[in-house]
């Protein structure tokens, strides 16, 4: 009962306000923390992340050939560049590129003929053509995205069309001269 001496009574509003603000803030923080696991549960689950390395044997890929593999359920292009394709990529002035990178930046030292990129157009995620036998490689001899006409060169760099970036080079390592571990 609020009497005249009661320090929490209506004649002592500060104490009442303090309790109210403290209680509501505490409940608010608690509510916000409870939302975190809900948001986090929508991140890739452990079984999806478990697919995040892929081992590939590249010994059967001849110069000039490319294969489509899968990495994290996304297409992965592995291409054995010919000396002419390497020369064509090196001849482009880097400063003229939308996303300036040299071929050497995009390959591993000692494996300069192996161009390993994701087969995911950096525009809106279509799979570009050019890795399969007889597919259209576009005006720059690399890859060509049929969705909105992005053209990539022999280093997988964006040269024409709406895509903003070069084809992404995933983390990978040569564990032997013919075996690559991606991821």
């Amino acid at each position: 009962m609020a009497t005249e001496d009661d320090p929490s009574g209506p004649e002592n509003p500060r104490r009442r306000d303090y309790l109210q603000i403290a209680a509501v803030s505490f409940a608010g923080v608690g509510g916000a923390v409870a939302v975190l696991p809900l948001i986090n549960s929508m991140n890739p689950s452990a079984d999806v992340l478990a697919q995040s390395t892929t081992e590939l044997d590249v010994s059967a890929i001849e110069p000039g050939q490319a294969i489509k593999a899968q990495f994290r359920k996304q297409p992965l292009f592995v291409r054995n560049l010919t000396p002419a394709e390497i020369a064509a990529a090196d001849a482009v002035p880097v400063s003229s590129l939308r996303d300036p990178q040299t071929l050497a930046d995009r390959t591993k030292e000692g494996h300069g003929n192996w161009l390993i990129t994701l087969g995911v157009c950096t525009h809106l995620g279509c799979v570009p053509l050019g890795a399969g036998e007889g597919e259209n490689r576009g005006p720059f001899g690399g890859y060509f995205c049929p969705c909105h006409g992005s053209a990539y060169d022999t280093a997988g760099r964006i040269r024409q069309g709406p895509a903003p970036k070069n084809l992404e080079v995933p983390n990978y390592e040569f564990t032997s001269p013919t075996v690559v571990v991606v991821g």
Binding site: I39, N43, P44, V48, R72, K73, L124, C147, P164
Partner: protein, 429 residues
């Protein structure tokens, strides 16, 4: 919140009196969509489309709930459960599936007519801004629901649609890729994405139903607008919603069902895309990705940006596409003309029809392959779309001289003498 002459609900027997004194739900319905809601007497058939959208929502809810009883939401099972089990084995499954797929098109069709009705007759103006704002929210929810539903059959267009649409979010600087992976629950659309889309596709229609109740609530505070845009001045300007407009809407529902049935029974795949009868293949993109027809204008705006200007072209495209809808939230304050109906606004009326043509061209561009000619046409029409709302409408509302408005709805309907005649009839009745 209603006009003083609105009829009052009077429970007739002991049971309805008992209910009314405990939970006055019948009274609520009577006042909302019954004889207790007075409506302008001069509504034309364009005022049917709100009710038609409600009918379409109910059709989608009912067919969708039954379809969900047969659908397997997994990347391995979704395609077969629709194209095998539902289409061939489930009793009348083909009917439910085609009704649901074409029902989405019918829903968007009537909603587009409903929106353009609002644009022509100035329904977004004071005191109905809140009705319009909630309507734009419903439209956004509807687009999200339609998109997620289109992913569920897990055909090639479903899969690549999901890839492209979630790819929009990767255009956001710095955190974009993280958001995309979070939305998909993986690095490419797969089980995780399909299951959450199914969950949300089931949830959102109920959210839409809730927003529709708010939409109607906000509408019933000022009452419905009408083709003259002149507010209701007295009892002679209105008729009770029931039976007058329930009957008129009933006729509209009949026409709606004829068109809907024609689609289901004679052209069930006309609005679909043949590529969606190929199961999703993450390693092969269809040569020509197009969304469903109702997204074509927005897809054309997305693709219209081809050059980087401060920020990348891709981000411009995504911002413009979302901006083209968010712009509608500001329309009540961009159009300052006090005259609502385009019937009395000669300049705005022309601008309205040019906008309709513009959106149709955008739609045509969005459905075509992105050849250079189509891209240029999309750029011009996308620019005009934004100019209409941001430049043309504000300027017209300043400079235009509207035609003289009728003194009242009744005068517009019956002429000078009609008003008094109507009042006499109303008095003698």
């Amino acid at each position: 919140m209603s006009f003083p002459w609105a009829r009052h609900y009077e429970p007739k027997n002991a049971l309805t009196q008992w209910i009314d004194s405990r939970l006055p739900l019948p009274r609520f319905v009577y006042n909302a969509v019954g004889a207790g809601y007075p409506v302008p007497r001069n509504l034309n058939y364009f005022w049917n489309f709100g009710v038609l959208a409600g009918v379409a929502l109910v059709v989608q809810l009912v067919t969708g709930i039954v379809l969900a009883m047969h659908f397997h939401s997994s990347a391995a099972g979704a395609f077969d459960s629709i194209n095998g089990t539902i289409m061939r084995d489930v009793n009348a499954g083909w009917f439910l599936r085609f009704a649901h797929a074409n029902g989405a098109s019918m829903f968007l069709l009537v909603v587009y007519i409903h929106i353009f009705r609002g644009l022509y007759y100035g329904s977004y103006k004071a005191p109905r801004e809140m009705v319009w704002l909630i309507g734009v929210v419903i439209f956004l929810l509807l687009m999200a629901t339609a998109f997620m539903g289109y992913v569920l059959p897990w055909g090639q267009m479903s899969f690549w649609g999901a890839q492209v649409i979630t790819g929009f979010f990767s255009a956001i600087p710095v955190v974009g890729e993280w958001i995309r992976v979070w939305l998909l629950g993986g690095y490419a659309p797969d089980d995780a994405a399909l299951n959450r889309f199914f969950s949300l596709h089931y949830l959102l229609p109920f959210v839409i139903a809730g927003a529709v109740i708010l939409h109607i609530w906000a509408l019933h505070i000022p009452g419905s607008s009408n083709p003259t845009g002149v507010e209701v001045k007295g009892e002679q300007d209105t008729v009770p919603f029931h039976p007058y407009y329930t009957a008129k809407d009933g006729f509209g529902v009949g026409v709606f069902l004829i068109v809907f049935s024609t689609l289901i029974f004679f052209f069930p795949d006309y609005l679909g895309h043949p590529d969606n009868y190929i199961a999703a293949n993450p390693l092969s993109t269809p040569a020509h990705i197009v969304p469903e027809w109702y997204f074509w204008p927005f897809y054309a705006i997305l693709r219209a940006f081809t050059a980087d200007f401060i920020i990348p072209a891709k981000l411009w495209g995504v911002l413009a596409m979302f901006g083209s809808i968010l712009l509608l939230f500001f329309l009540p304050w961009l159009d300052r003309s006090p005259v609502r109906s385009a019937n009395f606004r000669p300049a705005y009326r022309i601008a309205f029809w040019v906008l309709v043509l513009d959106v149709l061209i955008l739609g045509y561009c969005g459905g075509s392959a992105a050849t250079p000619g189509v891209v240029i046409a999309s750029q011009l029409t996308a620019a005009y779309y934004f100019a209409h709302f941001l430049i043309i409408v504000p300027i017209i509302s300043r400079l235009e001289r509207p035609k003289p408005l009728p003194n009242s709805i009744t005068e517009a309907v019956l002429g000078d003498k009609g008003g008094s005649r109507m009042t006499e009839t109303a008095l003698s009745a």
